[in-house]
């Protein structure tokens, strides 16, 4: 963490870096990559996660599993900034020889699991959480999924499993941007009341404004103290946060921006 910068300033920097990455390699899912910026910043710059860029597989690290892989490209500039890989790699994203694809994989230092097909990450995280308990490790598991992933049945298999097995070292963050690919979740299949659904599966639940990076940090800090139940943070976010054309479009998931729209967003971000 660069102490000279607040988490809010860091979030702005990462959001701009993500837009610049989009200028260089348009095609990735920008809107859902923008909704998770404050979540990622809180985890990596807010002293929540233990990590080691020099040894990404350090046994003592916390495991961070991104299930919504397509919507996590804002993680690339964070990993580069922290030294997991050379920043020059960002300039050649999606080009021959690059390991940075539109959907990330485990060749990228800092990514723990294969993703891309939705609804898998939480189940894998359950396995990792059991493994860490077996090793008597203090390391925690954090998982990032989207609210749209809650449509996948396998996620509920994992939610039920984690609650039953009291996986207190497991922390889930739902990027609750309220939109899937074809529109608003409320219209497709209403997921609310999502907090109650987790509670009846024996999870501890918190809900915050997912763009209030300090609030996200505080909630996750509290999670680290609790060890008897799995925990979920419902982070209410806005899909395409920071780019008006994306924020307002129900189909923002697949919306492509023109160069001037990206430049305009970059100028207006604050």
């Amino acid at each position: 963490m660069e102490n000279s910068k607040s988490l809010k300033e860091k979030s702005l920097e990462i959001r701009k870096a993500t837009l610049n990455l989009y200028r260089a390699s348009a095609g990735f899912r920008l809107a859902s990559s923008l909704s998770v910026v404050e979540i990622l910043v809180a985890l990596y710059y807010g002293d929540i996660l233990k990590f080691n860029p020099k040894d990404p597989r350090d046994e003592n690290r916390d495991r961070f599993i991104i299930s919504k892989g397509h919507g996590s490209i804002s993680f690339y500039p964070i990993l580069a900034d922290l030294g997991f890989f050379d920043k020059a790699e960002l300039d050649r994203m999606s080009q021959p020889g690059s390991f940075l694809a539109d959907i990330p994989d485990t060749r990228i230092p800092g990514y723990e699991t294969i993703n891309g097909a939705l609804g898998h990450g939480l189940g894998v995280a359950c396995g990792v959480a059991i493994a860490l308990k077996r090793k008597e490790s203090d390391a925690k598991v954090f998982v990032l999924i989207s609210d749209g992933e809650l449509y996948e049945g396998a996620v509920w298999e994992a939610i039920m499993f984690a609650g039953h097995h009291k996986l207190g070292n497991l922390n889930l963050i739902v990027d609750n941007n309220k939109r899937a690919m074809m529109g608003d979740c409320k219209e497709i299949l209403d997921l609310e009341p999502v907090e109650e659904k987790f509670k009846v599966f024996n999870w501890r639940v918190k809900r915050v404004d997912g763009h209030d990076v300090e609030a996200v940090k505080i909630a996750l800090e509290e999670f680290k103290k609790e060890d008897q139940k799995p925990k979920v943070l419902i982070a209410d976010t806005i899909k395409g946060k920071g780019v008006p054309q994306l924020e307002l479009d129900p189909m923002s998931h697949i919306k492509n921006l023109k160069e001037e729209e990206v430049l305009s967003a970059l100028q207006n971000l604050c």
Binding site: D105, T106, R107, E112, T113, I114, N115, G116, A117, H120, L122, G123, V124, A125, C126, G127, V128, A129, I130, A131, L132, R134, K135, G153, A154, E157, A158, M160, F161
Partner: protein
């Protein structure tokens, strides 16, 4: 190499055991010393599993009727360095969770070691009277399709016993296709078998050879014994296997009959053999025996169903006779 008299003795007189029980009992023995083994079940049991559950309750997990989650959990454990065994019946462990297997075992293991062993019990028509939902006729082809996935299809419990240590030592994903019924031993001396080679020429023949896998090697053995001059090649590992060595063995024969308890013409054992021949320019005549492109709704027991589909001993002998003509 077995001689014909020995075949007769072992195939008819060898002790019959269930592959699942042999494997799980053997695994229990390894779990005493090897603390890194986990066993997961999607709510399927067996007498042998009762022992494992009791002795190693801290490393046994019944995930419930949730195969997709079982594979995800298995992958998470394996990524942390554990050796994992995931158990369900054949059609469910190969199809209900196919995407999880594809992502976290097949794709992921190309980058990081993932030692997850899928134990599918109920190969072919093992669960005969249960009907087509519980038959396993697609699994050989769809598991063979996945890069980085080993496909083990043993014909007797001796091979299964030998495979236990192999499965622990080789840190890659594997599919283990087990019969549900006790079957007699074929391999009296499994030390002679090289698992990495993937096949064993049980009987050397003259012009015609049967090429079989799994349960069908039991039937093929009886047919080959009856005919006398017919070879028998047991392909117990459809992937990976030593294709060059297999090719050298196949090219000794003019006519080959592939026999599998699965759909033919869709990438199972027959596809493997045809590929090996084609890639090396061999021109043997090949007859493919197995199930045609229809599910099996008939009832009446496995042997009866095999007879209906020409897969019994007489059916094989009939095909041999046609080649001889």
């Amino acid at each position: 190499m077995l001689d014909l008299n020995q075949d007769a003795k072992t195939s008819l007189g060898g002790a019959a055991k269930a592959m699942r029980d042999v494997f799980i009992n053997g695994l229990c023995e390894r779990m005493k010393k090897n603390k890194r083994i986990f066993f997961l079940s999607a709510d399927f049991g067996s007498p042998a599993l009762d022992r494992l559950r009791e002795e190693y309750a801290d490393r046994f997990i019944n995930v419930g009727i949730a195969e997709q989650n079982m594979i995800n959990i298995s992958a998470g454990l394996a990524l942390e360095g554990f050796d994992v065994y995931a158990y369900a019946i054949t059609p469910f462990i190969t199809m209900r969770d196919y995407e999880q297997v594809r992502l976290h075992l097949a794709i992921s293991s190309q980058i990081r070691p993932v030692n997850v062993n899928l134990i599918g019990v109920g190969a072919g028509l093992s669960y005969d009277v249960a009907g087509p939902t519980h038959h396993g006729l697609e699994d050989l082809a769809i598991m063979r399709l996945l890069p980085n996935m080993a496909v083990f299809s043993p014909s007797d419990w001796r091979l299964v016993e030998k495979f236990i240590d192999f499965s622990i030592e080789n840190k890659s994903p594997k599919y283990l296709r087990f019969d549900s019924k006790p079957l007699p031993e074929i391999y009296e001396n499994p030390d002679e078998v090289d698992l990495k080679k993937g096949f064993h020429e049980l009987i050397k023949g003259e012009k015609i050879a049967l090429v079989s896998t799994g349960y069908m090697t039991q039937t093929a053995l009886a047919a080959a014994k009856a005919e006398g001059d017919v070879g028998l090649i047991d392909v117990f590992m459809l992937k990976p296997l030593d294709e060059d060595a297999l090719s050298e063995t196949l090219k000794k024969y003019d006519c080959l009959i592939t026999i599998e308890e699965g759909f033919i013409g869709n990438g199972g054992l027959d596809g493997l053999i045809l590929n090996v021949l084609a890639d090396r320019g061999h021109c043997a005549k090949v007859k493919r025996m197995g199930f045609k492109d229809k599910y099996v709704f008939d009832l009446g027991g496995r042997k009866y169903l095999h007879r209906l589909n020409g897969l019994d001993e007489e059916g094989i002998i009939k095909e041999i006779s046609l080649w001889k003509q």
